[in-house]
Symmetry: C2
Subunit: 203 residues, 2 copies
């Protein structure tokens, strides 16, 4: 049976190089243990040495898009990154895979709603408008849909019948803890991998 290829999206790419490689390896090992092949942009072999920075950026972007097109699903690390929401590069990839009709899964190590985290990030800048909705100093409303992040992200994952998996982790493991990632793999296996004949017979 051909194993499905999982695109491993996340801000993990910004970890110190040794840690990024270790997380990528651990994720690929977990993928294998659950019947998938993990594919990480960290392991994209593109040589950008000597290139102007901007050209290197375009090369990496093109390589990542090509890698995504060669995958069957994505598991995205949606842990809030330098703000109340997920990393924008990861979110771009979530939308990309979703548009291709490929199932997307997501996890976060931070609990709470987008509203709670945004209010905290805004601090004294947050205020309630006449309708009771929270606003920032530009009077722009803070999304309040009882969701862990922006509704487009939540909708993408839930459209496939899954949910964004939240497994809180302490700060020192915020971007390396893989408990939520492994739960995503289990969800993906349940939804996408046909039971083996023997297992089907037992069901």
């Amino acid at each position: 049976m051909t194993r499905l290829r999982v695109y491993l999206a996340g801000p993990d790419v910004f970890l110190p190089a040794a840690d990024a490689a270790a997380v990528s390896l651990a994720k690929r090992q977990l993928c294998a243990a659950h019947g998938f092949v993990g594919v990480s942009p960290v392991d994209n072999e593109i040589d950008t040495s000597g290139m102007p920075k901007h050209q290197a950026a375009l090369c990496i972007s093109a390589a990542n898009e090509k890698m995504m097109r060669g995958c069957d699903l994505a598991i995205a690390n949606l842990t809030p990154f330098r703000g109340p929401s997920a990393d924008v590069g990861t979110v771009y990839e979530l939308g990309f895979m979703r548009a291709l009709g490929k199932p997307v899964f997501g996890y976060s190590t931070q609990d709470g709603t987008l509203l709670e985290r945004t209010r905290q990030a805004l601090g004294g800048e947050a205020a309630q408008g006449p309708s009771g909705e929270w606003e920032d100093s530009f009077r722009m409303v803070v999304e309040n849909f009882d969701c862990v992040d922006n509704l487009m992200l939540v909708g993408a994952v839930e459209a496939g019948g899954a949910h964004i998996v939240v497994v809180p982790a302490p700060a020192e493991r915020r971007f390396t803890d893989l408990a939520g990632f492994e739960l995503c793999l289990k969800l993906a296996a349940q939804k996408l991998v046909a039971p083996q004949p023997q297992a089907a017979a037992r069901a």
Copy 2:
């Protein structure tokens, strides 16, 4: 000639309702003036009244995805939103349209690179690692590719032969100024709209 439909992505949806409607109208009028039809999620007619919030979120997400599929290109307001990067909902939509092979354009009212804005946002938390790269308190590197935002966003726009248009605006017009939006329309018209016979004869 059938006019191309432009999906109007941006955090504009979070403006106070009257302002969001006014910006949507202004954008649609500019689209018409440049030979396009503007289509905004602000004008999505979906009745979520009485729905639990989470269900409403899923309805809006599904409606926006359907609207995107019905458009031919996107112009995204990539102005940094509550942090150094663009709004995640907008970025999701950028990736979505790009994966569908539809040209994406983007503009911002804030200049500077992602590195500069992220260092400013991190404040004293930013530090230079041994290699000279800037890191946050998690030792996660700050992307430094001389780009205005994450390389996936830049790559998406430049893959179509355009660039992210930056026209600085004062704080009070940060999310409503449309100079950059109109430049995107001009770029889109140049790249996507065939010259009229008369114009072609002059060329």
